[in-house]
Each structure stands twice: as C-alpha cells, then as structure tokens.
C-alpha cells in the first residue's frame, strides 16, 4: 500500500513538474530578479558594473515629490474607477439577468470592451477626447451642451476625469460578467420562498441576493482593486501620465523609471507596489472574513 502511494505521489509530482517549472521561470524568477535589482545600481547605460547599494534606490524614490503625487493620484484613480465600475456593473448585471429578445447579442455587445487591450483603449479614447478633432467635443458642441471646445487631456482636472471615464467604460464589463454569474448561482427556491412570505423586490435583494453573493463580491472587488492599480496601459497611451504628472499613477511612474534606464529604481518602485498590495490584500481579506463570520 505504501509503495503504491509513493509511486502515485511521484507520478503526481511528475505531472505537476512542467507547470511548476514554467511558473517558477516566468513568474517567480522575474519577481526575485526585480527584487534583487532594487538593491543594486542597475542602470541600463552601463551594466558592466552593478554593485549592491543597499537602500539607496528606495531612499531616492521616496525622496521624490513625483512618487508621492503618483501615490495620491493612484488613490483617486482606484477609488473613483472602482466606485463607478462596481455600481454600473451591478446595474448592468441585474438588467442582463432578465430574459428579453436578443439578450445574447446584447450581452456580447456589452462585453466586448473586455476583449480589447488597455493600450488600444487608451489610444481610442485619446482621439475621442482630443480637444480639436475629438468626437466627444463635436457631440457636445452639436448638442449645445458646450459652446467652446474643452481640452479634456490638456488640463489636469479634466485629464484625470477623462482617464477614469475610459477606465470605467472598460471595467464595467468585468463586474457585469462576474456579478451576473454570481446572481445566476442564487437558487430560485429562495426567491420563491421569499415571494410566499410576501417580501418585496427590494427586501428580496437585500435579504436573499446580497448575502448569497457577498463572498463573490468581496473577492472580485479585491481582484479589481489590484488590477486597476496595476493597469498603467490605458493612462500611458492616453496621457503618458500628463499633463505635468497629473494623471501619473504609481505604475506609470514605474514605467518612467524603466524608460529612463534605471532598473534599480524601477525594482524599488516595484517592491513598494508589491508591499502596498500585499498589506492591502491581507487587511481586506481579514476585514471581509470578519464580516462573513459575524
């Protein structure tokens, strides 16, 4: 019996081996390498000498005003984007749950932004928001909502609003898909029982739907926070972090370090982001677990 178990364990280990090797090679190795670089002078200009410099890169990054601006912007970017994505996505999921003619086609039409790359979305919105040639300005002018063009990507306040609008457009889909799947998992019997008890639609939503999908909601919110924070593609192609750093988030700041050739500093920023996300995730999961057990 023992021999059989050992052989079986070996076989399982062998089957798992390619997966483990690939994950280690393409996920853990780059993370570890980046972490080591954070403590080195690793400038692309001269890689013949890459000495360890301790916390020098971290000191340099934390001493930069731009880093703190990017951190503040990240807060706005994540919180506002998430708020609108979540509530609009929820609304859309509730609408799409109903049976109506052409629902499949409508679902496909609603979900297609999720299939596009962030960089491409950024380019599209960049042209749509263009102050001189953009379709959004044209529409607003023609409908009489504005009487002169708005430089959406030219002024700091408008630029942040514009990138968030584009991000909401993109991310609503994710919430709609996930929440719709969660909604479909709620047993119909519960609603039937609630109907028998005379519960209104609102009470059914509050006492049946929400408790049933709460765990899923908590997880997808956490996932989305991590993804939005790690989603520089859209901002980078739309504004490049500008004007004057007003749409810089921590990950576009990281990209700028890479383009500047300073991989050491980029590694330091990367580790700081990782630390931030890990602490947040632990805090958030603990908080939602507490909520569940209560």
């Amino acid at each position: 019996m023992r021999t059989f178990n050992v052989r079986r364990a070996r076989f399982i280990a062998l089957c798992l081996l390619p997966g483990v090797v690939f994950v280690a090679l393409f996920t853990y190795y780059p993370v570890l390498r980046g972490a080591v670089m954070a403590f080195q002078r690793y400038n692309l200009f001269d890689l013949t000498s890459t000495p360890f410099t301790g916390l020098e890169n971290f000191r340099a990054v934390l001493g930069e005003e731009r880093f703190w601006t990017a951190l503040r912007n990240t807060g706005t970017w994540v919180v506002v984007s998430l708020f609108f994505q979540f509530f609009l996505g929820f609304g859309l999921a509730l609408l799409l749950r109903r049976h109506f003619r052409g629902r499949g086609l409508y679902q496909a039409w609603v979900f297609f932004p999720w299939a596009m790359s962030g960089f491409l979305i950024g380019l599209l919105w960049r042209w749509m928001f263009n102050g001189q040639f953009g379709v959004i300005n044209d529409l607003l002018l023609k409908t009489g909502i504005i009487d002169q063009r708005i430089g959406f990507l030219a002024s700091p306040g408008w630029a942040m609003t514009s990138v968030i609008v584009a991000n909401v457009w993109y991310g609503v889909t994710f919430f709609a898909i996930m929440i719709m799947a969660a909604l479909q998992s709620v047993p119909k019997e519960l609603y039937e029982a609630a109907d028998v008890d005379g519960a209104s639609r609102l009470r059914q939503f509050w006492h049946v739907t929400l408790p049933h999908i709460r765990t899923t909601l908590a997880l997808i919110v956490l996932l989305r926070i991590i993804w939005i924070l790690n989603f520089p593609d859209l901002i980078y192609s739309m504004t490049g972090g500008g004007p004057a750093g007003s749409t810089d988030i921590i990950t576009t700041f990281l990209i700028q370090q890479v383009i500047g050739g300073d991989y050491g500093r980029a590694g330091a920023v990367g580790l700081l982001v990782l630390g931030l996300l890990l602490s947040f995730s632990v805090f958030y999961l603990n908080a939602t677990r507490f909520e569940k057990s209560r």
């Binding site: 052989r7 070996r10 076989f11 062998l14 390619p18 400038n43 692309l44 200009f45 001269d46 890689l47 013949t48 731009r66 960089f119 263009n130 102050g131 001189q132 040639f133 063009r149 430089g151 990507l153 030219a154 002024s155 700091p156 630029a159 504004t239 490049g240 972090g241 500008g242 004007p243 004057a244 750093g245 700028q256 890479v258 383009i259 500047g260 050739g261 300073d262």
Partner: protein, 418 residues
C-alpha cells in the same frame, strides 16, 4: 516511471533546441534580425530587401522580428541581455552608446567594404559617432524642417523664432491656430532647439547641451529669453489642447487645417502629400537672434551583435542593406534623408518639399549638433524634461524653475562623464 520522465526530458530538450537560431543540419545559415521603429509598411519593405539578400546569398535565410513600436527598444535590450539568438539589429542614436558600453555590438569593418566610400560624409560621421568605431551603419536621417500653409496668408516662411511667433499669432483666430505645438512626449526637444538657437555661437555643437566655456546652455540669460518666447508661442499661437500633443496630433493638426505651421521630420512629407493639402511648402527651421539654428540629426541604422554565431553573414547583411540601391529604396519608402551619395542625383531628394533640406545643408548657420545621448542620464532627462515642459506651459513651474533644474542636472552629468 523512469521511462516517461526520460521521454519528457528528451522531448523538452529537442523542443528547446529547435527554438534557437543558427545553422540547420543542412549547413544552411539562419540569421535572426530585429527592427525597432516598426510599422506594417516598413516591415514589408525590409522583407523585400531581405528577400533580395537571400537571393544574392544562397544558403542564408533571415528571420525578421518586428516587436510593437512602443516596446521595441526594451525588447531588444532584453534579448541583448541574454546574449542569444540575435545576429542583426536596428540600433538607434540613443541606444548606440548603451548597447556598445555593455559589449553587445560588434565593430563593423569599414575599410575593406567598397560601399563605405559611397556613404555621405554625414553617414560616415554618424557611423563612428560612438567611441570612434563603426557599431552601426545609418540607414537614413531625420532632420527637421518647417512646414507651412501658403493659403493662410503667409507668402514667406518665418526665418526666426520671433517671426514664427508673430506669424502664428496672426493666423490664430477661432478654431484656427498658427503652430502645431508639441506639448506631449518629445516636446522638450523643441524647447532645447530654441534655447540652442538663442545661445548661438557660444554653443558647442559636439556636446550641444554645453557651451564652449563648459557651462550648460540652460544657464544663460538667452536660454530664459528663448523659453519665455516658447511659452508665448504655446499660449498665443497654438491650440490649448496641444499641451498633450505628440507626433500624430501635430501632423493631424497641420493636415486638417487646424494649424498653419509645423516643424517635423521628412517622413511627414508623404503624409501631407497624401492628405490632399495642396497649398503648402517647406523651409529650414527658424533661427535665433544670433542668426544660428541648431538641431541634432536623428538617425538609426543596422548593426551586428558581438555574440552572433555567424559574424561574416551578419556583417554581409548590414553591408547589403547599406549599399546604394537598397539604402535609397529604404530612404524613399520611409521619407528619410538618404545615406548614399548617389541619391543626390535622384529627383525625389532635390525637388519640392525636399529642397528645404538641401537649403539647410548649404547654410553654414544651420548647424547639425550632437546631443549628449552618451551621458548616463540621457534617458532619464527625456522622461523628466517632457514633464517639466508640461508643468511650464500649464503654469505649474516657472521658466526659472525649469532652467535651474535642467542646468543642475547637466552640470552633474558633466561631472559623471569626466
């Protein structure tokens, strides 16, 4: 249990071995080449040139890798760091120094190559710009010129920055503006161009961020004058939205009629021609009050890696692409200033919009400079300075703030290099 494990190991090894480049069992040589400034038309053109090379060199095949434009240089750097599977590559003016510093580029033979003497003086000079050794052969040059609309009440092009400002202000009314300002990525380069022109003869063209007396060009009162005018051009003669404009918006601004003037590379000529705009012309870039105009000539070229397993064939490919017939075809296809002396007889490069480039080349006060791309902070400055320019034109920073930080940065860089 051992047999499946062994079989898997052998299969993986064979699979990985098959992925690499090099010689095949039949003795055929396979070269791997990567381009940087990718675009579908350009890739198509390179592939036709490669096909000609393969025809002329039986037994040699070339695999072209074309990464997306925005991440191409990073991808090339990553491949170079592994020192594997790359024979020929596109080297740009701002990557040449770091690539050669890290020992990734092979020195190309020039004396025993007959094509060398056919290269223009500029091409020969730029080929050996890094450390006096030919690490690349340029394939063409990007030199800026002024594009202007003749139907916007401008009979003569502005010859100075002050005239450009005045002309631009006159054109600006309603939805029409004078100048396609670049406030987005690459915008700081235009500020530097103006500062250089205002510093005039004091500037050292060989190290163009410094004066002949070793101070930086950002430290002078003339630099402040230039920057004040630069801000005025944005505020009074350019679309407010141009604070975020990059290359596509600038060109679109000109071809759509939103702006009347544009300073750009020759590749725009084809775009303007195709746009249907008929009343336009070109002129050399404006000068400063000193009577001088300075600009670097952007370039890129083909190089061979130091670790190629087929150095002879790799060099042969670089030389083939750099010979008159191929290089002229490439320059024409990409609207570049050609590297071959023979191109001077080609009507495309001596007529119409191209005339301005010849005019500039014949004017001793239109000076070609060398930017400090070989200084360790160059890449960082490109990122930081664009951001500073946006802060300046949106009123978040003053001219004095920006010039002070640029002066401090390049004074520090000078210490690092010396």
């Amino acid at each position: 249990m051992r047999k499946p494990f062994l079989a898997a190991t052998v299969a993986t090894t064979l699979l990985l071995a098959g992925c690499g480049s090099g010689s095949s069992s039949s003795g055929e040589v396979r070269l791997r080449m990567i381009e940087s400034l990718t675009s579908p038309e350009r890739t198509k053109l390179i592939k036709t040139l490669i096909a000609d090379f393969e025809k002329a060199n039986p037994g040699v095949t070339v695999e072209l890798v074309s990464p997306p434009l925005d991440s191409a240089d990073q991808k090339i750097t990553q491949i170079l760091q592994t020192k594997k599977d790359l024979d020929v590559l596109e080297v740009r003016d701002h990557t040449a120094k770091s690539f050669s510093n890290n020992g990734w580029l092979a020195e190309l033979p020039t004396t025993e190559w007959p094509g060398w003497s056919d290269l223009t003086e500029l091409a020969q000079k730029k080929a050996v710009e890094v450390g006096g050794k030919a690490y690349l052969i340029p394939y063409g040059f990007y030199q800026r010129t002024l594009f202007y609309r003749t139907d916007y009440g401008m009979a003569q092009p502005p010859t100075t920055w002050e005239e450009l400002y005045e002309a631009g202000k006159k054109m600006t009314s309603g939805d029409r503006f004078g100048y396609s300002f670049r406030g987005g990525k690459g915008g700081a380069d235009y500020a530097v161009m103006m500062i250089s022109a205002y510093n005039g003869e004091a500037l050292n063209p060989e190290k163009s961020f410094y004066l002949k007396d070793k101070r930086t060009i950002f430290s002078t009162p003339e630099a402040a004058q230039a920057m004040e005018l630069y801000v005025k051009i944005f505020k009074e003669a350019s679309p407010p939205d141009s604070v975020s404009w990059g290359y596509p918006e600038m060109v679109q601004g000109f071809t759509s009629g939103v702006t009347g003037m544009l300073i750009q590379d020759p590749e725009v000529i084809k775009t303007v021609e195709d746009s249907g705009v008929t009343a336009w012309s070109t002129a050399p870039i404006p000068k400063g009050p000193t009577g001088y105009a300075f600009q670097p000539v952007g370039y890129a070229g083909w190089g061979a890696t130091s670790f190629t397993k087929h150095p002879k064939e790799a060099v042969k490919l670089v030389q083939f692409l750099s010979e008159a017939k191929q290089s002229i075809a490439f320059a024409k296809g990409n609207s570049l200033i050609p590297i071959s002396k023979q191109a001077q007889n080609d009507p495309q490069f001596s007529q119409g919009a191209w005339k301005a480039y010849l005019q500039a080349q014949q004017d001793p006060k239109q000076v070609i400079t060398i930017r400090p791309v070989d200084y360790p902070g160059w890449s960082q400055f490109l990122v930081d300075s664009d951001r500073d320019v946006q802060a300046l034109i949106t009123g978040k920073k003053t001219v004095a703030d920006v010039l002070k930080s640029w002066d401090a940065f390049w004074t520090d860089q000078a210490k690092k290099v010396s």
